[in-house]
Amino acid sequence: MPGQKDTGQKVSDMENRDSREFKGYLITETDKEGKKRILYADDRACEMTGLSVEILLMSDPVKVTGSLETESVALNDDHELWVLNRAGSRRQKMAELERMNAALEDALKAAEAANEAKSSFLSNMSHDIRTPMNAIMGMTSIAISHIDEKVRVQDCLKKIQSASSHLMGLVNDVLDMSRIESGRMTLNEEVFSLADLVHDISVITSPQASRKKQDFSIEIGQILRENLIGDVLHLRQILVNIIGNAVKYTGENGKICVCFTQLEKDPFEERESGPDTVWLDFSCEDNGIGMSPEFLERIFDPFEREENTTASRIEGTGLGMAIVKSLLERMGGRVQVTSREGEGSRFTVQIPFSVAPVHESMALPVGETVLASGLPDEVAVQCGAWLKEEGMKPVFLKTGLETVTWLTEAQYENRMPCALLLGQEFAEMPVLELAAHVSQLAGRDFPVLLVSGEDWAQKEYRAKRAGVSAFVPCPLFKSRLLGILGEMTVKKQERSHEDVRKSRDYSRYHVMLVEDNELNQEIATELLSLTGVQVETAGDGARAVELFEASPEGHFDLIFMDIQMPVMDGYEAAKRIRAMQREDAGRVWIVAMTANAFVEDIRRSREAGMNEHFSKPVDPERLNEILYRRLN
């Protein structure tokens, strides 16, 4: 068949042409040791090997022609002519095809494996979801059938509560995992404070550790920059997850040590670090149940949980560590873990963060004394170093009694410190009792800073009432300590001197003083006037009611109300003011000012609509404190 022939001829021609076009020549020489070198290479040989002639002359001919078909013709004992032939690449094409086939096979296997993983994932998921769901359904049935047996019902409810909270954790983890894997999770770039982050983590995890009576400590190493840029929410999730696991898998009275430090460069030197990058180096070490070498290899795989009797009693979704790893990878970080079964585990995490720009230098009470009392030794050492670095003079005391003695002497000798830092290490007294006495002794303007790892929100009301001016969260960070110290001392001084009129410029505020005694009225008016506030006086409750009624709405910001007065007492006056049909009648702050200190009196003043109770005789510091609190 001519067509067939033609076609065949064409192919053959093509092959011949290809043969001609794809031939290259080399002349090689073999030295005494049998090693070959190239003496000559034509352009085609350069083209076919992809190397320049200079490179070819320095190369091993066997290696550079490895992918080509070569024929050699001996020129003499030491020299050969090598003909490089691409026409023979048909074999290579075949090889390529084989490679592609193999790749396809691999892809198929991978797809099958993925499918298997998906099935395993679903199977695990179903199991993990079904287990608590079974518990919930089963326990609900038991509770219904024993509805009159209180103890049984209560027991069932406890189990339902536990199972549903486990289920909720599982669902949350799966959602997180799915968000990460589908790429729907985005990382936020926001400025955050490492000090705040560490304090938050401490507040979240310490109570869990304390319930198990564990020795839980957070150490702060070298910190280069405290304000960083990154996704703080996810970072918190990672760290809480790791610490939470340590608490969970460490027994009662166990030990957990968490450490934060910063590095200028990638500790493994795998990645470049720019000048505006620091590496957060976090570690969490425990002496808990540890992990087997087999499990250690799978720890970051989803749904992996250690299968031993101790761990299996501990609930978990098995996704936590997978989420940690995925999140860290997204953040450019890494996690490592070492562990020995029965001895404990150590997790380390390194993450790069951009540093946030520094705005302004802090104003500090340079040259002044800072009294610190009841701080743990290591905090005192660190704190002392920072204060000295910044030109302050720290004085450290251990007990509450020493503190009161020192302050009494200092006050008498006019050498009061600029602030008192109060720790919580007082064996012999509650710290708030000490704060309350100091604030009586030194006045309410004297800054008392509470250094504590506890949750401030829980303590704030009682602490402020006792006279604590501010809270310095622990673990202690330099910028946080100095920032608050500066805020409470330098700015306070500025306010109390030149800027007092601005920051405590109460001239736009109107205060009503209801007091029948002339001398008391005079003293209180004098004290109030010093602050710039506009004082209007009323000699009895009836006059106070008239004055309020006649004033424009919102005119009075505060009312100090005596209780025992002629014509109309303070209770009645407060009630009448509160009962007025005007918008400010309900919200104007009324302070009962009286020596009547019975429980009933306090209750009566509250029932009459007054907001707080202020004991007489008038204490200027307390008066100022109320103004500051209400008008600022």
Binding site: E149, L401, V404, Y412, E433, Q440, A595, P617, V618
Partner: protein
Amino acid sequence: MQPYQEEYIANLREIAVLTAHRKPEENTFDEYEEHLRENRKKADALVKRNMELLRDELFPLLDHLFAADQAQLAGLYKFAGELLNAKEELDTGLFCQIHRALLSLARSKQDRSSMIRELYWLGIGMNSLCRMLAGLELSESGRFLSQMRLCFTEAAAYLKYFDEIDDTETRGYILRSRANMALGQFSRAGTKISLVKQTLEILQDQEYQQKEPALPWERFIYMTHQQMAASMSYSREDAMTAQEIEAVMESVYIVCERQIQEAARNHQFPPPRPVFYYFAVEYFCGMDSLDSLLTKIESLMDKADRQSTSGDSMYSMISLPAFYFQFLQQYPERIPEREEYIGELCQQIITYIISFPEKERNKSFFFSLRQLLYTFLETADGMTYREFLKKMMEVFAPEIYVNALVVGKAAAFFSAAIIAEEPDFFDDIAQIREITDSDKKRREILEFAEGCGLLHDVGKLSFMNLYSGTSRQWFEEEYEMAHLHTSVGGRLLKQRSSTSRYAAAALGHHFWYDGSRGYPEYYRRLEYPERQMTDIIGLVDWLENVTNTARLFVGVEKTFDEAVQEAIALEGKRFSPILTSWLKDVKFAGRLKQIFAEERQNAYRRFYENNHNQVKI
């Protein structure tokens, strides 16, 4: 003093007599009941009058303290001195209130001498309040102790300026404050001992003595040695270092030697206190065995004059047994061989304290009673702690006792109604759940309810000055302190087998059902299987309080119907909805009201009958 101040003090004394529930002298119960009613009416009128005196006279003066003249201030100072002094403790709360106001005045005037003096007296007042807290954990009493200690510390800090202060009185206050810094409980014996040691060094310093020869240095030093000697009880096991023990021993010898020598000069037996100190020192130093010490204490107690009300007899008859019991509680293996002796001793103690003349009951007497309350030892054949507590309430806190009986009966009535509908309502309690016989179970529940009612307020025995001795409403500080009666009660009951099952009711009866409020903060309702009974006690006690007794302390008084409505309004918050649903039943509420009235009368009758035929003191 001003006439109103004198009147206030006279009223205080009269109120104490009127509320003491003296043993009935009347022939019939009706007469007795009428007498009680009259007394209560008179006492209420006097309390009202006292409140008026404070509101109309004292508080205006405190209000206008800046304007007070020297005579008024001196009068105030004297008045405070009558309220609390070495002999009497008439009204410590008011004493503190006055000195706190005077301290504020001194601070604002920057009058150093007045400040030191007021800090000292406020510290003394706080110390007196803190004595009610003996036996409590430091975590609960710490805040009150700290307030006292900080006052003394601030006053003592002026020691540095001893030379600059030129009046003897202020210098005396500084030194006494310095010594008083070591008053009260400490978490470590070493802290207390080191404070006393430093004080002794200061007092023995010739330079100070020469600067102010007018001060009674020898007395100060002796009293400080007494304070050091009182630290002896810490000398157990590893609580103290060798140096600390040495310091304590030295003081013990100084104190005891003097008293024994004095007794020898007067050809008398040495007083029991130093003799006991001597014996105890020998034991703590390892020179004597515990058995030998116990035998020596027994011989001291046996020698006591049981008819006398002297300080020494009181010490031998109440304090020594308290120490004796404390040793035995620490070493219970010593109890079996002494069971019979302990049983007899308990009877002797009870006879002694109930026949102790009312007029002679002073601060030391009540302090010793509190010691006994904490260490009382119950044995299998002897008096149970429950019986002892009941007797204590009956004799020393009759109003609390009557309230306890009424609450117990009302709780039993409430419980009976509930189990009639829901027999296994109290099945959280294993002891009750295990009873299969329904009649027996019912009896057990009702008995348990009465027991919880009877003992729920035993903690108040530690705060008798606040409750039985009150003659006005409480100040906020006293109100907070009174809250501790639940912790004290819970702790006392928990430690003895005859009362441990009632501990939850004592601890949790002021805690809100929803956990949002109430006290003590550490009470966790769900952790106690007795919670349902505690809920019942909490509700009936509240009904009894707001209709009967709270008017005295916090000025709240409601009719029974008002109280029931308020309880219903607090359903699910303060009170269990299961219980308030019963109150909504008008018939049930009516019957409960009747129970309260009847049982109060029955309680008085029981009181009358129990005491009517007893030998008059």
